[in-house]
């Protein structure tokens, strides 16, 4: 009996418990509004349904948020991810659009490699500003957030680059074994990042740098190198997200691709339990956070909430999630659990007192 309660308490105090509850509640609300919301069917050999849409649409956000998790774990922040996604997408689409055979796999791979390369350069730029010159991350990445948008537009000369490339389109809307390819990519990158950080010592070292940079340096960690690295990884993730977003609509729009995605990503990371101050990071939490945010957006469309009030609706849900996730908030509404007290060993000597 008490173990059951203790286990239940263990579950509710898990950092993902409340985000998951809200996620489920949102899905239930959708299902009540329209029962078919939860149904998944096989159409033309592809899984089809709102749930699949949510996961597919959250794929770019998951990617960006993964990189953001690592950056935030080092105590930094990367505001430039949206712009980087736009640049990477624009570079790839521009290259494809200039080739005679847009459907050639080689062309697409070259395009992706080009976009990826440019993104890595941009990530390195951020890394140098933060780790090399020591500019505060929020300002350092703000520079690229502004200039990167301009860069994306410069590449496309202010136009939307429309492409007609089958292989490229696959990144956004293709399918693999009935699953949307975007989901597969997001899953693969998540696994890759997880393996990269948790199967090696990278994760611990990142957490160490974020937890205490000076102590890490004195322990022999090349803190700057790690800081530099996370910004590059973040840009790489953003680039993949950028390919996905542009492939989704077969066009690159320097203005619209990844607009405000940085705020969503930061929100996803925080909902996932990673503190903005740096230190411990939780990739699983980040993924749940991203899914929650996309579910929120999709719910607005699926339940046809008036666009005029949809922002309020989102704000309220975000506030609720953040509140119930805060330990201090829950503490006020939770009965105090009784704690078993371990008796201390008795002290042999008697109490002595001397006269004053």
């Amino acid at each position: 009996m008490s173990t059951v309660r203790a286990r239940a308490a263990g579950v509710t105090s898990h950092r993902l418990f409340w985000p998951l509850v809200v996620l489920v509640l949102l899905l239930v609300a959708n299902a009540v509004y329209r029962p078919s919301f939860l149904s998944i069917e096989l159409k033309n050999g592809h899984l089809y349904g709102s749930l699949i849409d949510i996961v597919r649409l959250s794929a770019p956000l998951i990617l960006v948020a993964l990189g953001m998790s690592l950056v935030i774990a080092t105590g930094g922040i990367d505001l430039s991810v949206g712009a980087v996604a736009a640049v990477a997408g624009a570079v790839a689409c521009l290259y494809i659009s200039e080739q005679p055979d847009q459907n050639s796999l080689g062309v697409v791979l070259t395009a992706v490699a080009l976009g990826f390369g440019v993104a890595l350069l941009l990530g390195a730029w951020n890394g140098i500003l933060v780790a090399g010159i020591g500019i505060q991350p929020i300002i350092a990445t703000l520079i690229l957030m502004v200039a990167g948008r301009g860069l994306a537009q410069l590449i496309a000369e202010g136009q939307i680059i429309t492409i007609n490339s089958g292989p490229y389109k696959v990144i956004g809307v293709g399918h693999l074994l009935t699953l949307p390819f975007a989901i597969v990519i997001a899953l693969a990158v998540t696994l890759l990042v997880a393996v990269l950080t948790r199967r090696t010592a990278l994760g611990m070292i990142i957490e160490s740098v974020g937890g205490n940079a000076e102590a890490s340096r004195l322990a022999g960690i090349r803190s700057r190198r790690i800081t530099f690295l996370v910004y590059v990884v973040s840009a790489a993730c953003a680039a993949i997200a950028g390919f996905m977003m542009t492939a989704n609509v077969s066009s690159a729009d320097g203005n619209a691709v990844g607009l405000w995605v940085e705020l969503d990503a930061i929100l996803a990371v925080v909902i996932g339990g990673t503190a903005l101050a740096g230190g411990r990071f939780y990739l699983g939490g980040t993924v749940v956070g991203a899914l929650l945010i996309q579910t929120l957006t999709t719910s607005v469309y699926a339940m046809n909430i008036d666009p005029q009030t949809s922002l309020l609706f989102k704000a309220v849900v975000v506030i609720v999630v953040c509140l119930i996730q805060a330990p201090a908030f829950r503490a006020r509404f939770r009965r105090r659990r009784s704690v078993p007290v371990t008796p201390v060993e008795p002290v042999g000597t008697e109490k002595e007192q001397v006269p004053a």
Partner: protein, 330 residues
């Protein structure tokens, strides 16, 4: 019994600038350089009205940045400012449109921002949630209120508002607007509050070390809530100034303004970690941003995307120089 290490004071000569003033002075110097470049390149730039215009055009930004300075000095951040500015302008416009007395509208509009700020401060303090997230939610909320009121921009035709907007206070051949004067007044009041009131000193104390401040018996919670309320108030004043400036309330106005404001505060030498910085620095930061923009407009040949790239580039050069100057003097 006095020993040398105890009595020794950190060396200081009259000509040496205290290190804490270096960022602000560096900003001021760089600002001068930029202004000189403008004057050298464009004839009309030397006109004094250009300087006044900077204040006229950035009054609301300045006021909001002052509020943000309070928040950042405590080590927090307030992302909701842009939305609160828009919300205030929207509420004013819509209430005026409904024929409410302007004085009453002014009171209501000036209350909304502080109330939201107070609420966010309470959540940050009592529930110990990161300011970034709380104010991000506040940003969504206030923007939501804007579109909820109306999706279209609402013109203001009220007599008081239009006269406040269009009245020109002449200084010789040139003029400033009412809004610019209010903004300058807010800067002065804020500087005085920070330097000469307990609240102001407590703001610095919390930014220095919140734990210590608590142990020293300072009202940490109250001060934290106060700075978000102040930021809300400044955003509300900024919203009123913006509604003077545009004589309307538009749901999408001031989108992304929070980033401009944060940039201005940081360029002005205030540390994002808190505890160090001045309102005067923030004033300089706002001036820097607006001079960059003025330079670009005067140039008048920049493409849309080049505008962004050049803004980013100038921002970079500026921060880099500031950083280099800072390192050298250390």
């Amino acid at each position: 019994m006095t020993t040398t290490p105890l009595a020794a004071r950190p060396g200081r000569a009259w000509w040496r600038v205290p290190p804490r003033h270096v960022p602000v002075l560096a900003t001021a110097a760089l600002l001068l350089v930029m202004y000189s470049i403008g004057v050298a390149q464009y004839q009309a730039f030397s006109n004094i009205q250009v300087v006044f215009n900077v204040f006229i055009d950035n009054g609301f930004l300045l006021v909001v940045a002052v509020g943000m300075t309070f928040v950042i000095l405590t080590g927090g951040i307030d992302l909701s400012v842009g939305s609160v500015v828009a919300m205030t302008a929207m509420v004013s416009a819509s209430l005026l449109g409904n024929g409410l007395h302007p004085a009453l509208v002014l009171v209501i509009a000036l209350l909304l921002g502080p109330i939201l700020g107070f609420a966010m401060g309470c959540v940050i303090h009592f529930f110990d949630i990161q300011p970034f997230i709380v104010t991000l939610a506040g940003m969504f909320f206030a923007r939501g209120v804007c579109t909820w009121i109306s999706t279209t921009s609402i013109p203001i035709t009220d007599g008081f508002w239009t006269s406040a907007a269009q009245h020109r206070i002449h200084l010789g051949e040139n003029f400033v607007s009412v809004g610019a004067l209010i903004a300058v007044a807010v800067v002065a009041v804020a500087a005085a509050v920070l330097a000469y009131t307990r609240l102001g000193r407590n703001v610095y104390a919390i930014g220095g070390n919140q734990q210590s401040a608590l142990l020293m018996g300072l009202p940490v919670g109250r001060t934290k809530i106060a700075v978000y309320t102040i930021s809300g108030l400044c955003s509300a004043i900024g919203g009123i100034l913006l509604s003077f400036y545009t004589l309307s309330g538009a749901p999408l106005i001031a989108v992304g303004m929070e980033l401009d404001v944060i940039a201005a505060v940081v360029i002005g030498g205030t540390l994002l970690t808190g505890g160090s910085g001045y309102v005067f620095g923030t004033l300089l930061g706002v001036l820097v941003l607006s001079i960059i923009q003025t330079l670009i407009t005067f140039d008048g040949t920049l493409n849309s995307w080049w505008t962004k790239i050049v803004i980013g580039g100038l921002l970079f050069v500026f921060i880099l120089l500031q950083r280099l100057v800072g390192i050298r003097t250390k």
